[in-house]
Subunit: 368 residues, 2 copies
């Protein structure tokens, strides 16, 4: 692979977006991925008429019109509105916790009372951290804050991050929200959301379908590869052979099940904060409203990331890992012809839109 | 085309109605259209059992019995009752905003309170401009007025007309209605409404099916054509070679999608005031209650009208365009044997019934 001008490592949404932008700027691009498929963690595939998201629920959502318009060149969108239900006290109620959750879970007169208190204190359609409820001095709202903390947040978070209760950062508590309205959508604040009408993989395939882009799958990066510019979306600590130590990640294991009936749950994603060891179940047919007598579910089990065993998913962000990452970042800056990007390259929990926005910014910087 | 007595330009509902009326009065008529189909913007076609309205949702509705009776000679009517839902705060609620919308969106006790205030102030089943709500001095009704303005009107209007918020004429605000009743129908005030049982195109075809009417498609008007009387339903500014300048229009782009499931939305038309760049999605099978395992949707994207690029849809009516139009109108009056009519000829946003009423009037005038 001598004489490669631009080498992109990683064929996820970051790498693919970058490949396209570079190719359209007249550059020759080779993009490689160690895996046997494109589209990284948003990879999906059709299983007997059901589009299955291999690495868990991915819903594209953004307020960034530039990003939306860029991706819309490669796909139509199914205008899916994401809703999440959580099994709380035996009922599947909207998450984040809102007025509909309140009425589903509490006896009528209590729900009415709490609703009035919430609206008096905070107004309609506001996202209020439960810490604010505690500060009102109202006993009922304090009780509600405790309820939400315990039933919606605490046990879910313990599973998600594999922590013991005393390891929970108290500051995190403040951020657990209650929504003082009836909008059940998970991404209520985003103007644009959807699932690519033919799936994420097809969208990425169209992006990569350009004369000046060469795709090589089953091709891990190795240091002997030659290039003029390298764009690396893999783990930055791995790139530097873990010189400063290993950046911590949380991983996920997916257990798939196929059931011989049409519908398993009432929304694409259900959270199970209080039961089982999985955090979520994803029913894939919801994303594109696929019609089938069967249904395919994936149960998401959070687990420790282990090199060579499973995949990196969520950066575990704390002071220690921030300080570690900053050392790698410093080292990265010394390499003139290497750019890091993507969730693993930047060690940031990017949503898909932020990953693409980062690419669009990077391309503008390079053009200067 | 020498010796033509009556030449009608444009085969939409105006031109076709006129052709029929003239033919029935004993006149020889030639009617031409630049397009390859009849029925203008209410053209529809059968796609595997679903009647698709090519240029967006057209629902015939009127209180004019003469117009209804005239059209009813050429079609039976499917008694479709038009309803529009809008995605507001995560729910598809009736538009125009009514008491059902109120109860869907607001917490129970607030909805009850607002409903009482509305009915005390305005009575049952009234269409009230939100400006009236502001004038009551009641804080709750003011809040409701602001809510409707923001969530139902403002963002929709910005998309529809391609405006910035500060370009909104404040007087327009006054006209945004709230309906103090539970009638979800969009045309609640109209005695007659429906969709031609075999489609608009077939209705127009029957109209034109007369020995003294000759139809020529793919035939743009040109100045060398000879006639004794010309009836022109095209754009009046184009007729005069844009002598006084171009009359402004807003255009639409339709993005069609076919989905492999029976129902996409809960009404024929859904408004998306707060999400996406389209204003509406139309699900065509609703109009005639077509049964199919599939469904066909058109998303309506408003866009600037550009000559030669897209079609004229909505006259952009303001002082400037009114003054411009009046110059063309003056010029038109000097031509003794040329009549202008239709949405483009009269530069008016006619509903279909008003376009036909205009024809019936014109024919009476001519007969005098």
């Amino acid at each position: 692979m001598a004489s490669i001008k631009n080498l992109i490592v990683g064929c996820g949404i970051s790498g693919a977006s970058l490949a396209r932008k570079l190719a359209e700027a007249g550059e020759q691009v080779v993009i490689i991925d160690a895996k046997d498929h494109i589209a990284g963690n948003c990879h999906d595939y059709n299983d007997n008429g059901i589009m299955v998201q291999k690495y868990g629920a991915h819903i594209f959502h953004t307020n960034d019109k530039e990003v939306w318009d860029f991706l819309s060149r490669f796909t139509d969108w199914y205008p899916y509105q994401h809703k999440v239900l959580g099994l709380i006290d035996g009922q599947f109620v909207p998450i984040p916790f809102n007025l509909n959750s309140l009425h589903a879970l509490f006896p009528g007169f209590m729900a009415d009372e709490l609703e009035k208190r919430l609206l008096e204190n905070f107004g309609l359609n506001k996202k209020i951290p439960i810490l604010q409820l505690r500060k009102t001095g109202n006993k009922d709202l304090e009780m509600l804050a405790d309820y939400i903390y315990e039933k919606v947040f605490l046990q879910y978070t313990l599973k998600q991050w594999g922590l013991a209760p005393d390891q929970i950062d108290p500051n995190v508590t403040e951020r657990v929200p209650v929504y003082t309205g009836r909008d059940n959508r998970y991404f209520a604040a985003d103007k644009y959301q959807g699932i690519p009408a033919e799936g994420f993989t097809e969208m990425v395939r169209k992006m990569l379908d350009h004369n000046d882009i060469q795709v090589k799958l089953n091709t891990p990066f190795d240091k002997t590869m030659e290039y003029k510019q390298l764009f690396y979306t893999g783990a930055i600590d791995e790139f530097f052979d873990y010189f400063w130590g290993e950046l911590p990640y949380r991983s996920l294991r997916f257990q798939f099940a196929q059931y011989n009936f049409p519908k398993f749950q009432q929304s694409a994603v259900v959270n199970w904060p209080c039961n089982y060891d999985w955090t979520k179940s994803d029913e894939h047919k919801y994303f594109l409203n696929d019609q089938s007598d069967k249904t395919i579910i994936s149960y998401e089990y959070p687990e420790a990331f282990q090199r060579g065993v499973n995949e990196r998913y969520y950066p575990i962000q704390n002071d220690e890992s921030a300080s570690l990452y900053s050392k790698y970042l410093e080292q990265a800056k010394s390499l003139k012809n290497v750019h890091f990007l993507g969730r693993l390259g930047d060690y940031k929990y990017y949503d898909m839109d932020k990953a693409v926005a980062r690419v669009l910014e990077l391309v503008k910087e390079i053009a200067k």
